[in-house]
Amino acid sequence: MKFNVTRRDVLRFAGGAAIGTALSPMPWNLTDDLAIWTQNWSWIPKPPKGERATRTTVCALCPAGCPVEARCIGGLPVALRAANDGAALCPLGMTGHHLPHHPNRLTGAVGITRGERRPAAVTTDMVVRETARAIRSARAGAGSVVVLDTRPGRSGSWAWRRLLAGIDSAVVAAAPGLEGASLASLDTMLDARSQSFGLDLRNARTILSFGAPVAEGWGQLDLAAARESVRLVQVEPMRSRTAESADRWLPARPGTEAAVALAIANVLLAEGLVDTTALSGTDEFDSYLSVIAGFSPDRAAAIAGLAPDEIFATARELASSGPSIVVAGEQPGGGPLGRPAETAIFGLNLLLGNVDREGGIVGRTPLPAPGDDAPLTPLARLDEIPDHSVALVIIDASAGDGVYPWSLVARKLSPKGSLVVALSPFLSGSAARANFAVPTPPYLETIHELPTSFAEPVASIALSAPLLPTRSGAVDPVAFMRSIARAAGLDLAGEWATTESLIRERVARIHRAGSGTVTSPADGSATLVAELSTSDELWDALLAGGRWSAAPSNTMPPRTMRITGGLGTALGELPTRATATPRPTGTLTLVPRATRDTSASAAVSPVLTKLYQESGLRGSTGTAVLNPRTAASLGFAAGRNVRLLTAAGAMRVALMLDEGVMPGVVEIVVAPERSALGEKTAPGARTVLDLLTPGNEQTWSAVDAQLLEG
């Protein structure tokens, strides 16, 4: 047989094949597969799978300690929200579960050399040896030893004081600019120990705040909820969130807060609105009166750029709707207002009789210490330490960080040689400025302690329970102290070897004392400590998110009142910036502007780029904001890059214009640095805060600055 294949046959075969294939499922399946393939790339991250559960802890990212409910998948947290009904977490708290995965988390000890792009890996043992050597040379007279505590009041804070008790030159100081730091001025005025006062904000009827971010959760006050019961007067140069939500806003020029406070005192006294019998007998009252006399409302109003009526009205409100609380400074990123201003402001509390009064400033018994009454290193303020005198600085940033200009610490260092060692989970913030950084476990990987905050009328404590295993490489701060004690030959008695065992000691002591209650976050139910049979029960209740609070103490010893805080007539000396008018041409006042939530942590979730980088909501760090009129008078336009010049140096900044900025003022955004948001940058790079050289009074809330082309 013979096949005769013609061209036509070939064509027919091809055509039939095509039709047949088209009718089969094959091409359509292939198309679908192709579609699916283009929709699934292997490198797109896949969300985790696993069993769902809900766990409770307490946020340790700022001193407020909000109860947190964590949604977990396979035991790992994927979402955090407030555990108590009706409450909400701030952006920092909501993203806290990202922090253990922060790109700038320390995985091992590092040595940092300024100017080097990457830190050098070292062993923790080496850091211990170097620290011990520095301690020995300090004891030999090379200088003093300072522990900078970024979360004072913890058991760990106490352990530092125990560790260094044998060293004469050692002190433990709170890091500058922490929340509640201004209360140290009040301690001086009332001759009281640190932490022996709390602000009873929730029961106050009027709050007069000189720059404190009351609307941002400062003092754990839920201003939205307290709206009906609290009247808020804000004295602040910036149109901050608090200023805008205040019932009255006094936009005083930067640095004139003391003048406003003294003028309010002037009105209170002149109009006989306060009872001064308790004060009239005290030593300093006469010099106070002579200072006050110099601050008539008219003069203060002229200095501060306010209407005198505002000062009169504020004074009368304070006197008529008590109890009131007057608070100083505490602007996040802006640091304290300085002792004279703080004293002038807190003096109003003494005049108004706000001390030891419900809804005012109340005395409280301190939280029990974790150990016995063995000698402790004294507490000091960083500004009290002489410049160029410190041989060793240990920064304990294991539980948080503060926002402050590094020059505050740098100026204390001995020129003959010094060592700065930091304990921190992250290579950012304070730790990036140290010579050595030792990794500590971050929030959610270890127990963190939330001791009494400055805004609590009674002593309290909460514990942040870990939800994740501690990653290898992380060093427990107390274990680190033990190593130093061994290496430096210091005596550190006690059984405790880790932070957890130390906190257990404290909890055991609370249980032994048998007073106070534990409040559960979920339903607000309170249990008396006396009803708990063992300290383990108290421990478990705290780890489940509970907060222990001491019973209110009703009797307070009589106070010695020093209304000028020992400053005498120096109280009335204002910064020259505040009084010198007119300002030299082209000189602006530089004011740092920050939000409260993120200023408590050296690292924040990279997702917060939504607020700082991907939207204009908060502005990226280093943005300078000017009133358009000021900008026009200087010849600058928005979007331009300009150089910002202060006594501490110059920096290129982006310029933004905003009618809400006080004329003559340049607000500089102090926000998480790029490294804090997760970008890998050289450690210890200069930040905008470095432009804000603090004066002798440790305040950087306002400095002189100039703006230059390009």
Binding site: T31, A35, T38, Q39
Partner: protein, 410 residues
């Protein structure tokens, strides 16, 4: 060297000179290929487009070249359907130009979309209500039509003609031309219009939104009209540029005059309708959307001058030049008119693409400006280089201008 490929009876430069001419364009295309590679591999973050300027230089390029490429279909329409035989002199060139414009546009679109591998989803899950679906369908089909129209021109090459079956095939294709021209015309009318509709339907963008007839906003018709008005001008312009560069007379002046006359009449109609549309839009459509039309022109550099330049300088002026028989006799005037008309259609597409997106809608959003990145510019230049190279090859080896051989005699 390549003389055996070159058409008999026409003068072409030496191979060396030709390669020297191509070299810079090839470099430009090479840079463009690199830029395109970056965009495809690293993603569109290589561009300066953003969430506000979701469309940028590339979409402007697509719209502009498709408008200019309208010369292809419109010349075909005039020649095969309306039987204006004079235009046989430029039809081949117009087809090549059209092919370059459309293939360039499709290529850039493929880079412009975020997931080019899913481009075919438009055919798989088409949304028939979208102007973009219509554009995608029409452009794809029309590009095929252009390719088929291009084919006989290629097959007429001196060497390819030697293959008998090619000659037969070419002959068959030739018979198809009127059909293809009709199909092309139909498709082109639709997608030119749909490209205008793309903007006209944006009810959320008062700057672009227009009232219209049935489902078609006025921009639908204005885009068709502006495209067919400038298409002939673009053919005129390119023909005279090629003539200048190659030093060869390619067509009789009468062809230029005819193209100009057609362009002129269409332009004047366009300018009239565009003016009416602008008046209605500024006084009725935009205010109804809650926007004060003065705001459209409140942000520099988009002042009212843009509108005046677009309609008067780049619309009315070339129309008047083209309509005057005296001016039409002068080649410099014709060139001036063509350049103005082509710039006019490009400006119109630029305004519709960029200004639409720049004008803020939310009062608390700032006015923003956009400037393309080098990758976008390089991709843009790639299309131009690709066009020049393809056209140069076609001009050298194919018979783009049937009158050229006779013209040599003069």
């Amino acid at each position: 060297m390549d003389s055996s490929l070159i058409l008999r009876g026409v003068r072409r430069c030496s191979t060396k000179r030709f390669l020297a001419w191509l070299a810079p364009w090839a470099v430009m295309a090479g840079i463009g290929v690199f830029a395109i590679g970056l965009c495809l591999v690293k993603g569109l973050n290589q561009t300066n487009m953003d969430n506000r300027f979701a469309f940028g230089l590339w979409i402007f390029l697509d719209l502009a070249v498709i408008a200019l490429g309208a010369g292809a279909f419109f010349t075909g329409f005039l020649l095969y359907i309306l039987r204006r035989d004079e235009l046989r002199a430029v039809i081949n060139s117009a087809v090549v130009l059209g092919f370059i414009c459309y293939s360039g546009a499709v290529l850039v679109l493929a880079v412009d979309v975020g997931q080019p591998l899913r481009a075919w989803f438009t055919f798989w899950h088409p949304n028939v209500h979208s102007m973009l679906t219509e554009v995608t369908f029409c452009i794809t089909v029309y590009l095929t039509v252009l390719a088929i129209e291009y084919l006989p021109i290629v097959l007429k090459n001196r060497q390819l003609r030697k293959v008998p079956s090619f000659l037969v095939f070419e002959g068959e294709l030739h018979k198809l031309m009127p059909v293809l021209a009709a199909v092309g015309t139909f498709l082109s009318f639709f997608h030119q219009g749909s490209l205008g509709g793309l903007y006209g339907v944006l009810q959320g963008r008062p700057f672009a939104f227009r009232d219209g007839f049935a489902i078609w906003p006025t921009t639908f018709f204005l885009f068709i009209l502006s495209a067919i008005a400038t298409g002939p001008a673009f053919v005129l312009l390119t023909t005279s540029i090629v003539s200048k560069i190659s030093g060869a007379r390619l067509v009789r002046h009468g062809v230029y005059e005819l193209l100009a006359k057609i362009s002129g009449w269409l332009l004047i109609i366009y300018v009239g309708l565009k003016s009416v549309d602008t008046i209605v839009w500024l006084n009725q459509t935009a205010p109804r959307s809650g926007i004060n039309p003065s705001q459209f022109y409140a942000w520099q550099p988009f002042g009212t001058w843009v509108l005046i330049v677009e309609i008067v300088l780049l619309g009315l002026v070339p129309a008047l030049i083209f309509m005057s028989p005296a001016r039409r006799r002068s080649l410099p005037w014709l060139l001036t008119g063509s350049v103005l008309a082509c710039l006019g259609v490009a400006l119109n597409r630029l305004v519709m693409t960029i200004q639409t997106l720049a004008v803020p809608t939310l009062k608390f959003e700032p006015f923003m400006t956009y400037w393309p990145s080098w990758q976008e510019v390089a991709t843009f230049l790639f299309v131009i280089a690709y066009g020049v190279i393809l056209y140069s090859l076609s001009f050298r080896y194919l018979r783009l201008f049937p009158q050229e051989r006779e013209m040599q005699k003069y």
